[in-house]
């Protein structure tokens, strides 16, 4: 459903003064990373082999600068400036940090980056994952969100939104395995998938169920 009031996904939030604030150094993880660009190498990579000391995230290879025991979460957030995966507990108890590794949901806060040998997808990478699956042209791809993201907008799922990146990761994992899950299967996936239930404190669980069902229809 088109949403004429929603901002286009690629617009900067707020008026020029907001952009000034970001330019001044606030809020832009990307800015800080760019400043450290001399030590961060991001290479477009099409091969399935990931060089030693690297991870592949959202289709690009990233040469990691952190110690091997560093959880993947800090590499994604602090080195790569990604904002999708969030720190929630550092214990694998809440799911805010969830990403997809080889298509399955993994808690990046308790997973050392050096143990990750397969493709990592974060919330930032969902549109491209869908575009590739559907062979969308570049123009179409640029305008298309993953159906899970679109369903999250259409159902107005997020409140604070902090947990929702992880929630969307579960949805993609589930819908790629079970295209038309029942409500019971959805509840089960969010509750009983190890290592812990996915927790939302704002109380969006019922909206999530509706959004997963909506996304299932769109993907089918």
């Amino acid at each position: 459903m088109a949403d004429e009031n929603a901002r286009p996904a690629d617009s900067s939030p707020g008026p020029p003064s907001d952009r000034a604030r970001i330019a001044a150094g606030a809020g832009a993880a990307v800015v800080a990373v760019a400043a450290a660009a001399t030590v961060v190498e991001v290479v477009r990579h099409s091969s399935q082999t990931i060089p030693a000391g690297s991870i592949r995230v959202n289709g690009s290879t990233h040469q990691v600068q952190s110690a091997p025991d560093t959880p993947l979460l800090y590499v994604l957030r602090d080195e790569m400036g990604l904002k999708g995966p969030k720190f929630g507990c550092g214990l694998g108890q809440c799911g805010a940090c969830a990403v997809l590794v080889n298509g399955r949901e993994v808690r990046s806060c308790i997973t050392a980056w050096s143990t990750v040998k397969q493709d990592v997808i974060t919330l930032e990478g969902l549109p491209e994952r869908w575009a590739q699956a559907k062979n969308l042209s570049g123009d179409q791809a640029a305008k298309t969100l993953h159906p899970v993201q679109q369903a999250w907008i259409d159902q107005q799922v997020p409140q604070c939104g902090y947990c929702q990146s992880g929630m969307m990761m579960v949805a993609v994992d589930l819908l790629e395995r079970i295209p038309n899950p029942t409500e019971a299967q959805i509840r089960d996936a969010y509750t009983n998938t190890p290592p812990s239930p996915h927790l939302c404190r704002c109380g969006t669980y019922m909206s999530i169920i509706a959004a997963v069902q909506r996304a299932a229809k769109a993907m089918g």
């Binding site: 009031n5 008026p15 800080a32 602090d78 720190f87 929702q164 509750t191 019922m206």
Partner: protein, 752 residues
């Protein structure tokens, strides 16, 4: 050229107004320089229209509010209000929220005030803006104001039309008559002027389910949360909080094992590890050897209710009507009961986080998720002994906080300020999960004694309620307190909630309590407790509404009919009837015929009513109870709500959903545990919350009263959940649960 002049010129011109002129790039650059040079930000003038509102040359509108987005949709709701008054499409409105150098101080985003109070102020401002625009149009079109019409930001007079952008042409918009602001920044702040806001009967944008403007960014990882803020030259910090609540620092030893890149920073009792890399700060905080004094002045949580009764209290009579002792003595029968609610967590999914930059020239920038940027600005200024103008607070969304950052504006921010000053670099403080579970200011545990007297016909002749409640408004800032510069006091608890029932005699007494352990703590605070979604009223309403159900049962009356018998307020009656109708309420006394703990899984229903900050809500719980396991499954919760004028029905429904699910969690599962030294529920395993498996289905009935000013929707339904569930369990089994949480073990124990 000075940056300060540029900044002042910018502000005098009404903020972004200039930005839409020919050289936005230059202005942006000047602003960036000003920010980088950290010049003082002059106080905003709330009586100037341009402080609040900017009409850009392209017809778009920027409106500024001191209130902040908490995920409750205020950014969208306020934009709807502004769009409505100006007759501009909602898509052309941009709201700027909660930046101390840009937005006027509209007080704390708390107490269901964003629409009710801040929204009413913005409505008046937008109405003033419209009047000013029409005056300009009248002059330029040569048409009397009364003969002008506006549609989509275009003014028509006769055959001629002028857009708002053409009318303003880059000039500052000035109000037709002076705007008066009283109580600036306080809960009683008012904005008055000469313009008359639009009659609600003509609303087009207000009342529509406008999609929330911040949602797309939240689902595409474009939203920047405070946890995402990184600034150049920033150090990551982890704070090592005291062992016991009142423990003080004895000594800081070495890192064992060594953590290259980590270094300890100490200021008074504030101990932290800073590092260039976040993981080094985390590892360092785990490796640093810190010795704390022992402190064990708390009662343990399993003895908490008797300990609360024993605390020194400040008593306040909440209600006194008629001769309650006499009526109780003369009553044909009496009912009495004690209700208890535990300490609870706000439970932010993302632990506290803030970034602070205390520069060598004494100016300060704080990036925070606070509910009150101007409040934090003043606290930081006091902490550092500088004027508030030297401090700017940039507010970003954080994890949902539900009051946790409303009286305590931001513990992590004050810690970051102390640390940044100590190390001379920007510092990002990120609490770990255990820090948040242990050190958040919790929702207070409470105790309630209730009694009622019934006449020979089963009617109520007397009502009595005494409540023991620790403070709900701890405003200590942890960074300040630990660094030896405490800012605020902790206070005592109070009573929240009006009385709706017309019982002939009634007496209500609040025993306002200090924090547990506060009297024996070097910091002045004990087990910290502060506003948690519908603070105080949540606990009061649980006790009262469940007890009303007990009285109805004693009188052999249907719970709905019994309530209606003692209600006169038509809005209260309407929500009760609407909830009952939607839930298919069957009129009969509770417990239901055949209710038993012996016959396997039983089902039941319960009802509750509340008036919170002007909003009426009624709820019906339908659930099943398995007496053998104690498992309660809330199958459906119905809420009927009347909050006056509805701004955004979809947003209201989502707030009700939020209230139902979060409070089902609180009522059924949550309890902060502690030993004599500190909190022992450290994470989501020791403090579990509701999962999707147990989320109830939710049915909402919205009653719209456009003629009544809008009131809050983020809190009222919270109050319905616990009493309705308790009464539904009673309806199913004949057993009354009076202590929260109603976990399976407690339910099972009560059923045996």
């Amino acid at each position: 050229m000075t940056h300060e002049l540029d900044r002042r010129t910018f502000l005098k011109a009404g903020g972004a107004l200039i930005v839409t002129a020919a050289v936005p790039g230059a202005v942006v650059a000047a602003l960036t320089e000003a920010a980088a040079a950290a010049v003082p930000y002059p106080a905003l003038d709330p009586t100037a229209l341009a402080t609040w509102l900017t009409i850009h040359a392209d017809g778009s509108v920027t409106a500024r509010s001191g209130h902040v987005e908490l995920g409750h949709g205020v950014q969208t709701g306020l934009a709807q209000i502004v769009a409505e008054e100006l007759d501009v499409p909602i898509g052309r409105i941009t709201m700027i929220l909660g930046h101390t150098n840009q937005t006027p101080d509209q007080g704390d985003t708390a107490g269901s005030t964003s629409i009710r109070v801040a929204g009413a102020q913005l409505r008046q401002i937008a109405a003033e803006g419209r009047a000013a625009l029409l005056k300009l149009a009248s002059q330029q079109l040569g048409t009397p104001v009364d003969a002008l019409t506006v549609a989509d930001g275009v003014v028509s007079g006769g055959a001629r039309r002028l857009s708002y952008g053409e009318l303003v042409k880059g000039r500052v918009l000035t109000a037709v008559a002076p705007i008066t602001v009283s109580g600036y920044g306080g809960f009683r702040m008012s904005v008055t002027g000469s313009a008359k806001p639009k009659d609600p009967s003509r609303y087009g944008t207000v009342g529509k389910s406008v999609p929330r403007v911040e949602v797309p960014d939240k689902v595409t990882a474009k939203a920047t949360y405070v946890q995402d803020v990184r600034v150049p030259n920033m150090l990551h910090a982890r704070v090592i909080h005291p062992k016991g609540i009142g423990s003080t620092l004895v000594s800081v030893g070495d890192f064992a094992p060594k953590v290259p890149g980590a270094r300890a920073v100490t200021k008074g009792n504030l101990v932290a590890v800073v590092a260039e890399r976040e993981w080094d700060a985390i590892k360092g905080a785990g490796a640093l050897k810190v010795n704390w004094s022992s402190w064990s002045k708390l009662p343990t949580s399993d003895a908490v209710y008797s300990a609360l009764r024993a605390l020194p209290a400040q008593d306040r009579v909440q209600l006194s009507r008629g001769d309650v002792p006499g009526a109780l003595a003369a009553a044909a029968q009496t009912v009495s009961a004690t209700y208890q609610t535990p300490f609870e967590n706000h439970g932010m999914i993302g632990p506290s986080c803030a970034v602070a930059d205390v520069r060598a020239d004494g100016s300060v920038t704080v990036w925070s998720a606070t509910q009150y940027p101007q409040g934090l600005q003043k606290n930081v200024a006091t902490l550092l002994g500088i004027s508030p103008e030297r401090v700017q607070v940039m507010r970003f969304e954080g994890a949902g906080c539900y009051g946790r950052l409303s009286a305590n504006y931001d513990d992590a921010a004050t810690e970051a300020v102390v640390l940044s000053q100590a190390v001379g670099r920007p510092v990002r403080v990120q609490w770990m999960r255990e820090d948040e579970h242990v050190w958040e200011p919790h929702g207070p545990g409470t105790v309630h004694d209730l009694a009622a007297g019934l006449g020979p016909d089963g009617s109520v002749v007397a009502w009595k309620h005494e409540a023991w409640m620790p403070t709900n408004s701890d405003s200590t800032e942890l960074g300040a307190a630990l660094a030896g510069k405490p800012l605020n006091t902790t206070g005592v608890g109070g009573w929240t909630g009006p009385d709706l029932y017309t019982f002939p005699s009634a007496f209500e007494l609040a025993h306002g309590l200090p924090e547990l352990g506060a009297a024996d703590s070097p910091y002045g605070f004990g087990l910290r407790t502060t506003f948690l979604r519908s603070p105080g009223q949540y606990q009061i309403t649980f006790a009262q509404e469940a007890f009303v159900d007990e009285i109805a049962a004693k009188a052999g009356k249907d719970s709905l009919a019994f309530r209606l018998q003692y209600l006169t307020d038509p809005r209260a009656i309407a929500v009760l009837q609407a909830a009952a109708r939607a839930a298919g309420w069957e009129s009969r006394p509770s417990p239901k015929p055949g209710a038993s703990t012996k016959g396997g899984v039983a089902t039941g229903r319960g009802i509750a009513l509340v008036l919170r900050d002007g909003t009426y809500a009624a709820g019906v719980a339908e659930l099943s109870v398995d007496p053998a396991s104690g498992k309660v499954q809330v199958q459906r919760f119905t809420v009927a709500q009347d909050s006056g004028l509805i701004i955004n029905p979809s947003a209201v429904e989502h707030q009700i959903e939020s209230c139902v699910i979060q409070t089902t969690s609180r009522a059924m599962m949550e309890e902060v545990t502690f030993d004599a030294s500190n909190v022992t529920s450290l994470d989501w395993t020791s403090y579990p919350i509701l999962t999707m498996a147990d989320a109830p289905k939710i049915q909402t009935v919205l009653i719209n009263h456009p003629e009544i000013p809008a009131t809050g929707v983020g809190e009222p339904a919270v109050n319905l959940i616990a009493p309705a569930i308790s009464s539904a369990i009673f309806d199913a089994t004949g057993v009354r649960l009076r202590t929260l949480p109603m976990r399976p073990a407690a339910v099972k124990a009560a059923m045996v």
